[in-house]
Symmetry: C2
Subunit: 352 residues, 2 copies
């Protein structure tokens, strides 16, 4: 590998001149700059990332912190990852993946302390997430996708669950549904995204005079089956289900079919924050509510880079509002007379 010294020798200048020509920090005459550029081309010179990072304390690398669970990744995680990666690259940064369980706080401290990354993006933040403290203590700039219980003064970007809940419930209400189910992933932690969404759904249901029955399900095919059984057992009148866990969908749909309930004729199902590609795979294709994960990933990168550039900027907290994407899993409540009337929903969007 060619070094700056090689370039300098070939161009007949000093090393510092090469450096200034490269960075533009000080004026360099046109003729000298051209000689240097030619020399760099001839030698195939590329600045060494380590020497640069060592001196300048900036690596132009950011890390994406994923919860470690190869076992059952949400497929929409891919959209966050790709969205963030592409966008970071466009902004001149590299994206490093760091898979670490919530328990591996020590490892994370080590990682953060190495100075390898300029900043960190934290995915799937839990209310009591210990990673946040570790990062704060290590004084590494970071931004969250989702947020913990005490997000004051921290940068984050999250889904506006109140908005999603309103869109979902109003849509179902317009279709005549009065008894709704809500299937959430079982979680050992209190107050996470599922709980927040549940609360908002409950309120939205109250506003339109509907009731909502929440069910916590294991994240598996079997869990979906169990959830369906639980809902049917709790109230056979439940005619629409809001789902917040990708993994329960297959079991839920199969259990419905096995119990003679067709979707959407006899039962409506709508998913929160499910990736479009995933939603297309079910039969019928799944109606969803939620913002684009790709966009959230991009916005998270922007948020983090803003902090890296202007250090003193006040923390910013962004809520992304989702859209209603109607595909085919929701229909009118068969047990009610349904008067469509004029729709009041504005963000609705019909897909092919």
């Amino acid at each position: 590998m060619a070094t700056m010294a090689d370039v300098a020798r070939l161009a007949g200048v000093s090393v510092s001149t090469v450096s200034y020509a490269l960075s533009g920090t000080r004026p360099i005459s046109l003729s000298t700059r051209e000689r240097i550029e030619q020399a760099m081309l001839d030698l195939g010179y590329t600045p060494n990332a380590f020497a640069r990072g060592l001196k300048s304390k900036r690596s132009r690398i950011i890390a994406l912190l994923l919860p470690a669970q190869t076992a059952s990744p949400r497929l929409s995680a891919l959209e966050y990852i790709l969205g963030a990666s592409d966008h970071a690259q466009e902004r001149g940064y590299h994206l490093m993946l760091w898979t670490a369980g919530v328990e591996a706080a020590d490892d994370l401290a080590q990682f953060a302390g190495q100075g390898l990354v300029d900043g960190v993006l934290v995915l799937d933040v839990r209310p009591d997430d210990p990673r946040i403290q570790v990062l704060a203590r290590a004084e590494v700039p970071f931004a969250m996708i989702g947020h913990n219980a005490e997000p004051d003064g921290l940068d984050y970007i999250a889904t506006d669950f109140a908005h999603s809940a309103r869109l979902a419930v109003e849509h179902l209400s317009e279709l005549g549904h009065r008894k709704l189910g809500f299937v959430d992933a079982m979680s050992e932690v209190e107050g996470g995204d599922g709980a927040r969404l549940g609360k908002e759904l409950e309120e939205a249901a109250g506003r339109v005079g509907a009731t909502m029955i929440p069910v916590a399900a294991e994240e598996s095919v079997e869990g979906g089956r169990t959830a369906f059984a639980a809902l049917a057992g709790a109230d056979p009148q439940v005619s629409a289900i809001v789902v917040f866990s990708e993994h329960v969908v297959p079991g839920l749909m199969r259990a419905a079919a096995e119990n003679g309930r067709r979707i959407p004729e006899d039962l409506s199902v709508i998913c929160i924050d499910m990736a479009p590609h995933v939603a297309e795979l079910t039969t019928p294709p799944m109606s969803t509510v939620g913002p684009s994960a790709v966009q959230i990933g991009q916005a998270a990168v922007d948020l983090l880079l803003r902090r890296l550039d202007g250090d003193a900027a006040p923390a910013r907290q962004l809520l992304f509002q989702g859209e209603l994407n109607l595909r085919g899993s929701c229909g009118p409540n068969p047990t009610t007379d349904h008067h469509p009337g004029s729709s009041t929903s504005q963000q609705r969007r019909y897909l092919q």
Copy 2:
């Protein structure tokens, strides 16, 4: 951030002693080592990654090169990524994501020349992939997932398509299917994975006395519809379809339903290399053939690290054999009398 000098001062030794204590390169007395370790703990010392990389020329970072296409990622790409990332981390390496189109060869050369990464994993390699040349010229160790047209002397790991083809075709043949369709993603390049798989399917079909009609489809819902129409038009007798593109599945299944062909009663469908989570989402759940993407990701990491450690090792080329995962999208050919007989297939596995 504390440096080695800080640790040395606190422990009352020289910097080099601290370094030797850390690396174990030279013997250090127990008492000194303990003093040093205590000092490191007190100061929360973590070695600086840049200084270390600059001196030692090793970063313990590997890159995963993805084709840039946020637009339509294969969901199983997530499994490669997570498999590789987890495994790299267990082996003490970091995983960096590099999203770059096949066209961005210059950027790639820059990236490789920085010395930032010790090695590179290349995903979705195409027959004429220019990235391979760039990496070879930059003398960066790399391993491929899939392979190009001239893989001699290069490390790679790939799906054994001959094996997958045999499993799929034999299974369909046992169910009495004689006319098979093969839906492949449309591609501007010749001789890629799809073409290889197609050839193997054709041969396997020949061996069991079946015929195979190949169709190239655009990777979209609409493409799937078109593919179904093309197959039905080419030969209405086609009773089973092998699919090699995740994105055409929804369109294909919907078109089948619209034409009154139920799966699996009237039409069998089987997918090659589709992730389990994805396969569970369809109705009926999709039968698949293929190795685990997670395992391939892990194996690719191992392959690359082997090259990083023992530089002189001869190139190794691994083919992963897939399994037949029967879920529910294949059934007996309704137009033939079907005599199940004793199965000869060995790798078959029935899932719940």
